[in-house]
């Protein structure tokens, strides 16, 4: 369309988008050095910039940008792998299987994904519909999943419905029988690592008319979902809750998303016995586009502690082989991903890293409606146009491809041909202590 036909608004969006995309390309080239104010110890400037490179090229950076670890001084950042000496590693033509099952019980629908990760729930309201569709489109292309989060199931996701997990959270916003019936997997969100003990908290300025319409609430009024399911105050209530979903959609797999309190092990067992296929533990480093400042990142157990706790406990209980443990909350790189699996998870859930791939710089203004300069965690009608669905899907696909490549390489360097053989292999991890991982 000729520029003269476009509205001022469209022109502004186009120009702004073009600048942003140019920035995403230029900054990682480091011609002007690293941006001094970019990043923090968890998501360092290097990690942010190298995620942009992966999202653009489908491969990790080759100019020295650190793309494996951050600088937090703990957790994944002080763990390394015991790679085999170069001559003993498997060669590049050895096939490596990165697939994981999402149901390890001998009954119910068997679903497998070819890569060991899927996208975390981010609600319509906390992020834009465009970002949701971009994520869904990438999930469809890669035969994995994304998740609706707590804000309802926009019609625009219907085209991708075989790859969309529907979330049933404590406020049950947008939950209807049809959103449960069309989903291959239903995820109960009991809690979220970034704000355990609190429910969702979507501030008023993100509750646009369309968000309110989806949730059937009032525009511009803050939405608080309760911290518990009011119908679930005891484990037999949870079982009843699972049975409820199964009555509506007997085929769906059930995932239970919990945060990481000290008795996370008992929670995992209880979920198993209530019929869950997936236990999804969400650690404290997760992000949130819908929480007040005071709650973010100050509570719950880091995921690096929670994973082995759950893994070992389920082994002890004799049920580990029937549970799929997914870990999320601060998984940044392919190396974090692999370390999470080595600690005992079956797979990983990606949240922030997907947004970084779409241009997020971790400025932490997510909860304000007109806060996200990249049009990601916003439902503002103008700002959300900064992300075009096909562009977003391509960026995410590239990131997945880069992860796929790195995971295969990593497994070969450990002498393994399947990601499933990495589960719980803490013997392949070294603790680097203060020195940090190399």
């Amino acid at each position: 369309m000729a520029n003269s036909m476009k509205s001022t608004e469209q022109l502004i969006v186009e120009k702004h988008t073009a600048s942003l995309h140019q920035g995403f390309h230029l900054w990682p080239e480091l011609k002007n050095g690293k941006l001094p104010a970019l990043g923090d110890h968890r998501w360092t400037a290097d990690l942010i910039l190298s995620t942009w490179v992966q999202a653009e090229t489908g491969k990790p950076p080759s100019n020295g940008l650190e793309h494996r670890v951050g600088n937090s001084g703990g957790g994944f950042d002080v763990l390394d792998f015991k790679f085999l000496p170069e001559d003993r590693r498997l060669s590049n033509d050895v096939a490596v299987d990165l697939s994981i099952p999402l149901n390890r019980r001998p009954y119910d629908r068997q679903i497998e994904i070819p890569i060991p990760f899927y996208g975390a729930g981010m609600s319509f309201g906390s992020i834009s519909e465009q970002v949701m569709c971009a994520r869904a489109k990438a999930a469809q292309a890669w035969k994995t999943f994304t998740c609706t989060g707590e804000g309802g199931y926009p019609d625009s996701l219907l085209a991708y419905k075989d790859h969309v997990i529907t979330q049933v959270a404590t406020g049950m916003f947008g939950v209807r029988e049809e959103t449960i019936q069309r989903a291959p997997i239903v995820e109960f969100k009991y809690a979220q690592g970034a704000k355990p003990g609190l429910g969702g908290h979507l501030l008023g300025d993100k509750v646009t008319s369309s968000v309110a319409s989806m949730r059937e609430s009032l525009p511009w009024v803050s939405l608080f979902s309760p911290f518990p399911f009011h119908s679930v105050y005891s484990v037999e209530d949870h079982k009843k809750h699972v049975d409820w979903i199964k009555t509506i959609n007997p085929e769906a797999l059930i995932s239970v998303k919990v945060s990481t309190p000290t008795d996370i092990d008992m929670v995992a067992v209880g979920s198993y016995y209530a019929g869950a296929h997936i236990v999804y533990i969400d650690g404290s480093y997760g992000g949130t586009g819908a929480a007040p400042e005071i709650a973010k990142k100050t509570i719950a157990m880091p995921i690096e502690f929670a994973i082995p706790k759950v893994h070992r406990y389920l082994l002890q209980e004799g049920i580990r082989q029937e549970v799929v443990v997914m870990a999320g909350g601060g998984i940044r790189t392919a190396y974090d991903l692999a370390k999470a699996i080595a600690l005992g998870a079956d797979g990983v859930v990606l949240g922030t890293s997907e947004l970084v791939a779409l241009g997020c710089t971790r400025c932490s203004n997510c909860e304000r409606g007109r806060g996200c300069p990249f049009g990601l965690t916003t439902t503002d009608p103008e700002l959300s146009q900064l992300v075009e669905i096909d562009w977003g899907a391509e960026r995410l696909g590239n990131l997945y491809r880069s992860f796929q490549w790195q995971l295969s390489d990593l497994l070969r360097s450990l002498g393994l041909t399947s990601i499933r053989d990495l589960v719980g292999r803490t013997d392949l991890l070294i603790y680097r202590g203060r020195a940090g991982a190399r």
Partner: protein, 866 residues
């Protein structure tokens, strides 16, 4: 007067139970308790254990088979092979032997030195392989020992602990004996169960005229395994456990746990187990079985036996009255409760919980069933009372379990009938009833006993039913009563007129006539509608008791359903769990679905069958004989206008959740989690509803004749339009977000009235008793019928009152008219105050959200630019 010194001495005497000191003991639960099913029955006549079967079987979905147990109190001497003196005076020491070889050691070291045993026997158990096959873990062998503490042991204890001069309670001779028995059992448990090494034996119970049995299995299997089908008792409690940790299961972890003369079962999970353990440790009490339930009964025992508190104070110490309810207490009570709370609040359990206690006091000839609920009302509980030649009281996790027990009793004994006179919920920590109810059997020793129900404050709770119930023996039932040939509304009116002059015989004759008409096929519709109207409506019943009538109507309905089974017709298709299903004929057809035999949930459930039938084209359903079946009307999907479901019987949880256009009518009370996320359609309940009614509801219309329990309409959005004629426990419409009722949004009308058994409309004491009305709501409104201004500002939390205006009345009036049509509660009556007709604005008040100041500038800016 109980002296603190003697209490201190008693508590000090327990130091010897942990000779090595308690430093190494860490208060950490062995298993997560989580969930459970509980049922309790108290009867003025001793009833056999088999009457718990149906109730416990129907609640198996609340447990996982890893623990179950029962307690029986007020037994029959002959059933245990002892004399009455022994049963009433001796301690009944029931020991579970996990290892047969432990017995001689236990007897030698723990029983003989302390007790003079008058009678001992092995408790028989079944050889039935069908039962044995089901059990993962072999249940323990149980021995019963009847005895008294040896005088030397009593003297020795008194001297060692400086209690020589003690005579008054808690140090009367009896209570010293009690304390010795407690300590002896503790030592036994410690030596043979709780210490490291093999678990060999433990004490099931040691109270007088009380027996506890438990194992790794379901509660009903405990009755079968130990052959208690014919064992009779005044009070029974039964339990299924749902523990979630541990691969190896032990019977010692199952409920009930015992204090001294009481057994306790529990549904819930404490958040402050460690704090309670600390509190008990300060009194030299150290739990051995490491579960919530054990510490609950240890607390009860401490307050009841050691501190000798009256029951009211025991309850207060466990469930302290706080906030608005505290403020509404009379001053003397406040002063005492304040002191109790100061001392005991750190020992008070925090978290969802509901206790059922079976208590024995043979010296007073009293046996009790006590139900205590937590002050946040987080667990479901239903109480019920039936008063007749035999009176029986119930408390349970689900109403359908109570109905199952009544059905079992009524089947064998015409002095019981299918419906209780009253069903109610408790509001935990309330100033009105204390959230606790007690059924006391006063047995005078010669076989005649009376049952009395009281609340925490000792106020009597009566069924209120004066008429004689139906005793199963009607005189001269005519078989030729002619029914007037009029439409059903007129027929119903005719019956109502006759009722004041009828006896049960006449009524049965009428019902028989209806059944005959239904049988012939021509008149089936009218017959069904007539019985339904009789069940649903309230009207004067003359000399007959309503609950008896309901039981007879139930039976009549059953006969009519049977006739449909035998001779289905064009209009009525019959389906049960084994019949082949015809295809829809394309004409208007009603599927009569016999719920018996369908599972309560899962693939083979009643709910999935309804979905299946709907997918095949059926639209009109009549569900009969529902017994706790869950998820009725769930799974039908979007756009179900035109679907109609009538529900008869005891429906289960989640009924009508997620419906999107269907019409569901419940002919009786309903349970918990009804209409969750309901989108559109109509729900009518001719009774009360339970917990979290319409949680996250999004639309549709709902009409409830009776009350709602805790948290109705919580987190509801969109446009639900609801009328609750009664009241709620508390937390009505918390976080309501349903827009503007005057502009297509949602609302709740709360009438605060009750429709009596005789059809009279009465105002309740207050339209809303709780302290959290419309909390944190940001949309929608409540229209509360409060002509006397009883509801105050302090009961709101983020809402505000405003007067009812014309446009409000225009919105709610049509719903009140529909309410009148459904339930017979005239709008004119609702608009009367003290007998005088008044304006709507003088009767109804509006509660709506207070504008959130902080967001207003933002809202204004956005509105400018959107």
């Amino acid at each position: 007067m109980i002296s603190p010194e003697t209490i201190a001495k008693i508590l000090a005497s327990r130091k010897s139970l942990i000779p090595e000191g308690a430093g190494h003991l860490t208060p950490r639960k062995a298993e997560a308790e989580g969930g459970c099913a509980v049922i309790g029955i108290a009867s003025s006549e001793r009833i056999p254990g088999r009457h718990l079967f149906q109730a416990l079987e129907q609640m198996r979905n609340r447990g996982n088979g890893k623990g179950g147990g029962i307690a029986a109190v007020g037994l029959v001497p002959e059933d245990l092979g002892v004399t009455r003196e022994i049963l009433e005076n001796d301690y009944l020491l029931a020991i579970a032997y996990l290892e047969t070889s432990a017995r001689s050691e236990v007897e030698r070291s723990c029983i003989e030195p302390t007790f003079e045993i008058h009678h001992a026997q092995a408790l028989p158990s079944t050889n039935d392989s069908r039962i044995l096959e089901r059990l993962d873990v072999k249940p323990p062998e149980v021995f019963l020992y009847f005895g008294r503490v040896r005088p030397e042991a009593i003297e020795g204890f008194k001297q060692r602990n400086g209690l020589e001069a003690a005579v008054a309670p808690p140090t009367s001779p009896e209570s010293i004996e009690d304390e010795i028995v407690y300590q002896n059992s503790y030592r036994l448990n410690r030596a043979f169960y709780a210490s490291t090494g093999e678990k060999r034996a433990f004490v099931l119970s040691h109270g007088k005229n009380m027996l506890v049995l438990k194992m790794v299995g379901y509660g009903d299997d405990v009755i079968r395994y130990y052959q208690l089908e014919n064992t009779r008792a005044h009070v029974w409690i039964g339990h299924h456990r749902y523990p979630t940790k541990g691969k190896v299961w032990h019977p010692g972890g199952a409920h009930p746990f015992v204090g001294l003369h009481e057994a306790l079962v529990h549904n819930g999970d404490f958040a402050n187990y460690a704090s309670i353990c600390e509190y008990l440790a300060q009194r030299n009490i150290y739990p051995l079985f490491l579960t919530d339930t054990e510490v609950s009964v240890l607390l009860f025992d401490l307050f009841h036996r050691t501190y000798a508190y009256p029951l009211e104070y025991v309850i207060e110490s466990l469930a302290p009255t706080t906030e608005r309810d505290f403020a509404l207490l009379p001053e003397e009570r406040q002063s005492i409760y304040q002191r109790l709370q100061t001392v005991h609040i750190h020992g008070s359990p925090d978290g969802p919980w509901f206790f059922l206690i079976a208590q024995s006091s043979p010296a007073q000839g009293e046996y009790r069933l006590i139900g205590i609920t937590d002050t946040s009302m987080l667990r479901p509980q239903v109480f019920a009372l039936q008063e007749g030649p035999v009176s029986v009281g119930f408390a349970a996790s689900e109403k359908q379990a109570i109905d199952a027990a009544l059905e079992s009793l009524a089947r064998e004994d015409p002095r019981f009938w299918l419906h209780a006179d009253r069903y109610w919920n408790a509001r935990g920590g309330s100033h009105t009833d204390g959230g606790a109810f007690i059924f006391t059997v006063h047995a005078n020793g010669n076989g005649h006993a009376k049952l009395q129900c009281t609340d925490k404050f000792g106020r009597a709770v009566r069924s209120g039913a004066q008429q004689k119930p139906y005793d199963g023996r009607a005189t001269a039932v005519r078989t030729d009563m002619a029914l007037p040939d009029v439409p059903v509304d007129e027929l119903f009116a005719w019956v109502k007129e006759q009722l004041s002059g009828w006896d049960y015989g006449n009524l049965l004759a009428f019902l028989k006539a209806l059944e005959r008409a239904a049988d012939s096929g021509n008149d089936r519709k009218r017959a069904l509608e007539a019985v339904t109207l009789l069940m649903d409506r309230r009207y004067p019943t003359g000399a007959m008791r309503r609950s008896s009538l309901l039981s007879l109507f139930d039976q009549s309905l059953g006969v009519i359903v049977e006739s449909v089974r035998r001779s289905p017709s064009e209009a009525y298709v019959f389906v049960d769990n084994c019949s082949p299903v015809p295809s829809p004929s394309g004409q208007a057809q009603t599927v009569v679905l016999d719920a018996r035999g369908f599972a309560a949930e899962g693939e083979r459930s009643l709910a999935r069958k309804i979905v299946w039938l709907y997918q095949r084209g059926f639209r009109d359903f009549m569900l009969a004989h529902v017994k706790g079946h869950r998820f009725i009307a769930n799974g039908l999907g979007a756009g179900t206008q035109g679907v109609h479901i009538d529900v008869y019987g005891s429906s289960g949880d989640y009924l009508a959740s997620g419906i999107d256009g269907a019409e569901v009518v419940v002919h009786g009370d309903a349970q918990d989690q009804l209409a969750q996320i309901m989108k559109d359609g109509t729900l009518v309940v001719y009774g009360s509803v339970g917990q979290t009614f319409l949680y996250a509801g999004k639309g549709g219309h709902a009409f409830v004749l009776g009350n709602a329990a805790g948290r109705p309409l919580i987190n509801a959005v969109g446009r639900p339009r609801v009328i609750i004629n009664g009241t709620c426990l508390d937390y009505l419409a918390e976080s309501f977000m349903a827009g503007d009722p005057l502009d297509g949004g949602g609302f709740v009308v709360l009438n605060g009235i009750a429709l009596s058994d005789q059809g009279e409309v009465v105002e309740l004491d207050t339209p809303y008793p709780g302290g959290n009305l419309f909390s944190l709501a940001s949309g929608g409104a409540i229209y509360i019928r409060d002509p006397h201004g009883k509801v105050s500002e302090e009961q709101l939390n983020g809402g505000q009152f405003s007067p009812l205006e014309e446009h409000d009345w225009a919105v709610i009036h049509p719903f009140l008219e529909e309410n009148a049509r459904l339930f017979g509660i005239p709008v004119a009556w609702l608009l009367e105050v003290d007998g005088k007709p008044s304006l709507p604005s003088q009767v109804y008040r509006k509660i709506h959200p207070r504008a959130i100041g902080a967001l207003q500038p933002e809202e204004a800016w956005v509105k400018m630019h959107v």
